[in-house]
């Protein structure tokens, strides 16, 4: 099976749509799932997925392999969705709190199991209540298995700011869960 880089090189060289089609089949589901998670609307997610892939197609020659292709695709998806949300709601809160004011706060350890052990239908409801940036950062960390450095590159933030934001997103998720269901999440 051809790697992502090989498919990109072949597509750019031969302009054969079949190579791009293979890339689409590898990533379309994941991009669509992220769009649903962030936009919370099936129709908007479908249109966003289409736009993201057209963006990928038009910028494929600019992909430099400094990061993996998947990281590049996810970063286009997250940025596209955040821009779309900002255009629709001008004063929307992207993250729980401003990421610039994190370094002075004391770190609190929240186990990953708080998120990872939740029942999926409950988790879906909790995620819908989180600010879009928090959802994105938890997705990058626990679904895409991106490193803190990679997340920092996507969001243009320092590693310590990202660590703090992940911790805050987990605290927020735990709080929402307790408010919604009246009990602590299983892994807390």
């Amino acid at each position: 099976m051809l790697s992502d880089s090989q498919l990109i090189a072949l597509y750019l060289q031969e302009q054969d749509a079949r190579y791009f089609s293979q890339l689409y089949r590898r990533y379309a589901g994941k991009v669509f799932a992220k769009c649903i998670s962030m936009l919370a609307d099936h129709g908007m997610a479908r249109d966003a997925t289409q736009d993201v892939f057209i963006k990928i197609l038009l910028n494929l020659s600019k992909f430099t392999e400094q990061s993996s292709f998947s990281t590049w695709v996810y970063s286009i998806t997250y940025n596209y969705c955040i821009d779309l949300i900002r255009k629709k709601k001008k004063n929307i809160l992207i993250f729980t709190e401003d990421m610039g004011r994190v370094s002075t706060e004391k770190e609190v350890e929240i186990p990953d199991s708080v998120i990872l052990e939740m029942e999926t239908n409950r988790l879906e409801k909790v995620m819908d209540k989180l600010p879009v940036g928090d959802k994105a950062i938890l997705d990058m960390k626990y679904t895409d298995d991106m490193s803190i450095r990679e997340i920092g590159e996507v969001l243009n933030k320092t590693e310590s700011a990202i660590k703090m934001q992940i911790m805050r997103a987990k605290i927020k998720a735990q709080y929402i869960y307790t408010e919604m269901f009246g009990t602590e999440p299983i892994g807390a």
């Binding site: 749509a17 689409y24 379309a28 998670s37 479908r46 997925t49 052990e117 999926t120």
Partner: protein, 87 residues
Amino acid sequence: MNNSLKKLQAEREAMLPPELEDRISQHVGTLSLFSNVIEVFVPNALQVVIRLVGGEDLPCLKKETLRKSRANMDWRTPPAASAPSPI
């Protein structure tokens, strides 16, 4: 450890509308056609404009250049895959 976020993502991945691939394929096809049109027609259109305003032929489209490259061709040997097009 269980990963509910990955499960949720898998459920959502399954909801991908199948018609989306056709829509994107159409865009890929259009883009490919558009780039071919630019590659083939733009130099010739530019040449016509240059002639209309009384300029000289573009070096790459000059008849002598084309003739020269054709004269160098040997009809008995098939062109190499990487050989430049004489036109």
